[in-house]
């Protein structure tokens, strides 16, 4: 068993299709902690002590967000800037996150093909995510392959989105029960998700 905390960072949830579906499915998963960052801090002012305590209490940190301008939404960036503090997450005495796992669950607007050298985004998604990967590394956390829905804007609500949301719930359960096997995968998607046991 692993203590899982899911941080959702989406500033425009009332217009969200995929992330809202993911939240709905994830709500069915018991035994995990859920945080809506934009609801907790609508005017920013992040409570650093509270957030650090939350991180200490969990060993798997899920960051769920839409991929904005090849990065995280502003509040999540602020959260990273403030909470992953020197002396807490890195630097002298900064070992509080060592050995924990970080996994990103992001929705990417462009289709899979656009995240390649020949696509209009010109870089592979893992390359674009290296700043976050390195953040986890510096905090001595294990960086799991991210769970991604490509082409989220054009995605069909009843098929692709629903499948991605169900896969998300299954992923969270697997994380909770320590039975996620990532193999050599760079990216996890609803199709390629390999779970240790059959999802319920």
């Amino acid at each position: 068993m692993s203590d899982v905390i899911v941080y959702l960072a989406h500033p425009g949830q009332r217009y969200s299709k995929v992330n809202r579906a993911m939240v709905r499915e994830a709500a069915k998963v018991g035994g995990i902690t859920r945080v809506d960052l934009y609801a907790d801090y609508p005017r920013y002012g992040i409570d650093v002590e509270r957030e650090q305590d939350r991180l200490i209490d969990h060993d798997t940190i899920v960051l769920q967000f839409p991929f904005f301008w090849y990065s995280v939404p502003a509040l999540l960036k602020d959260w990273i800037d403030l909470v992953l503090e020197h002396g807490f997450a890195y630097g002298e005495g900064g070992t509080q996150l060592a050995g924990k796992r970080m996994i990103l669950a992001l929705t990417a607007g462009g289709p899979e093909g656009s995240y390649s050298e020949s696509g209009y985004n010109r870089f592979g998604l893992r390359t674009l995510l290296t700043p976050l990967e390195q953040t986890a590394h510096l905090c001595k956390m294990e960086f799991l392959p991210p769970y991604v829905l490509y082409g989220s804007i054009e995605a069909d609500r009843d098929t692709d989105v629903a499948e991605h949301a169900r896969g998300y719930a299954a992923l969270l359960e697997a994380l909770r029960d320590d039975r996620l096997q990532t193999g050599n995968a760079d990216i996890l998607t609803a199709d390629t998700l390999r779970l240790g046991e059959a999802a319920s």
Partner: protein
Amino acid sequence: MTELLELALLFLVAGVIAVPVAARLGLGSVLGYLIAGIALSPVLGVLDVDVVEIQHFAEFGVVVMLFLIGLELEPKVLWQMRTKLLGLGGLQVLGTLGIVMAIAMALGQPWKISLAIGAVLSLSSTAIVLQTLTEKGLLRSDGGQSSFSVLLTQDIAVIPMLAFLPLLAMPELMGEAAAHGDDHGGLSALDAWIEGLSGWGRAGLTLGAIAAVILVGNFLTRPVFGFVARANLRELFTATALTIVVGITVLMTLVGLSPALGSFLAGVVLANSEYRHELEADLEPFRGLLLGLFFITVGAGIDFGMLSENLLVIVGLTLGLIALKFAILWGLALLFKMQGADKWLFALSLAQAGEFGFVLLSFATGNAILPDAIADRLLLIVALSMLLTPLLFLAYDKLIAPRFSAAQELEPDEIDADGPVIIAGHGRFGGVINRILTSAGYKTVVLDNAIGHLEVLRAFGFRVFYGDPTRPDLLHAAGIDQARLIVVAIDDPHQTTELVRYIVDHFPHVHVTARARDRNHVYELWAAGCRDIIRDTFDSAVRGGRSALEALEWHPFDAERKVKDFVARDQHAMRRMADLYDPDTPSHENSAYVQRARELMREQDEAMQQDSPDYTDWIGRAWTPPRPRDIEANEEETEPSKKASS
């Protein structure tokens, strides 16, 4: 009675004519009063007016002035000045006294008379120098502070001088002294009792008087002022303030101390009181008028008959005295490492003899220390040197200061950087602002006239002053002319507007943050020239609206963005309406105003209808990632220009 009023009219007219003329010519008010006095002296001679008597009365102005100076000096500051007081001041007094005495002896005077002359001439004119330094804004400069220290030491030094001069009495002058008679008034029985006390008894009485001033100042003024404030009558405060200063003067005169020193002490004791600014504002006119009267009497007291008979001797001695005092002060300035213009200011400002010289002279003749012939000449020298002082300041202004001004500009001006923040009204609105500013390390001057309120605040350790913040004189005492910012947080919208208009008109350098009651009040304040207007309940109402949206299960971040948008629209509308608002026309009769209001309402309605849950509306305008068709669209748009250029 009529005689008194006639005399008052005479002095007032002379002052009202001479001072503005002198000020316009850049001579300063002191010289103006002196000239008025000189012009009056023949008239006063014809009317057989006792100028000396009036001068004694006018010396009360010096007492009031020292009280006001004391109010500005907290005991802590006074303690920090101790080196300057003892070192600089002590050396000036003793040095001048010694050298003048030596010269007098060299000119053939007996040592006792020489010592008395030294004492008389070692003092400078507190009245002229402080008045001029304040007027020119030089009191806070290094040179001004040094001058002030020396003047303070001199005021203290008068006490031992008055104590020891009687020991110099010369029996052969006793006959002359008897002619001067007893100039004490109706308190003679009490005087006689004090005279009858032993040396120890008198010392005890003196210490007791000082202790009384400090104790009363510390413990009694607060309840008394609280009591008076509840009556809510402005003139009662003035009466109370005068009672304090007159009371001290009487007490100090009785025990033979300098009233100026006593009131200075009382001022220092009250410097931490919340009534400080109220006292300052109330006493300020008395100080100015009485000092003016004093200067007029100095001018009028010049005996031109004697002057013309001994013109060369008197003028020569006066110039010699000024040169001598200047030289001694210059030496001290070098010793204490003063810089540039400060050195000049210090030496020039204190080079005259002063009004305490008059006091010592009448005391010395009364106690058979100085023969009348010498005393009369000294009186003339003292008066003449005071008359020349404004010219020395003029020389400083025109010749010295410009040479150093460039160098001085490089030094940061401490007064400006430390300019106070004034908070007018410490209620539910101003109180919060004050707490924020003080917690951020700013020094605030808080004015409020709710006495019950003040008592509560004091219990919690806030530093607030009693007074009606809408009074210009009180604002002045609180330092509005040096302030960086004033927060007008009083309840009454009408008073707020008046106060804002006054500040904007008279102190354009002061930033005004004003509390507005409602929309129309905002327009009024805008018309009054204020550009930082805060509606007192608007922000909390906005938060209320946000809470309501959250209660209706809006996502907190959406609620936040919704009310932000509301605030932005509201302020936009206010700004467009503000220019059309005319405080003198009811808004429904102001056609331009009505038309603009309708326009804005239409705009708002249109915008509201667009507020639908779509990515393209105002809330969701951000965060749309590029899609393949966006990329294609871009390529199409750039295509024609490529073709055109190829």
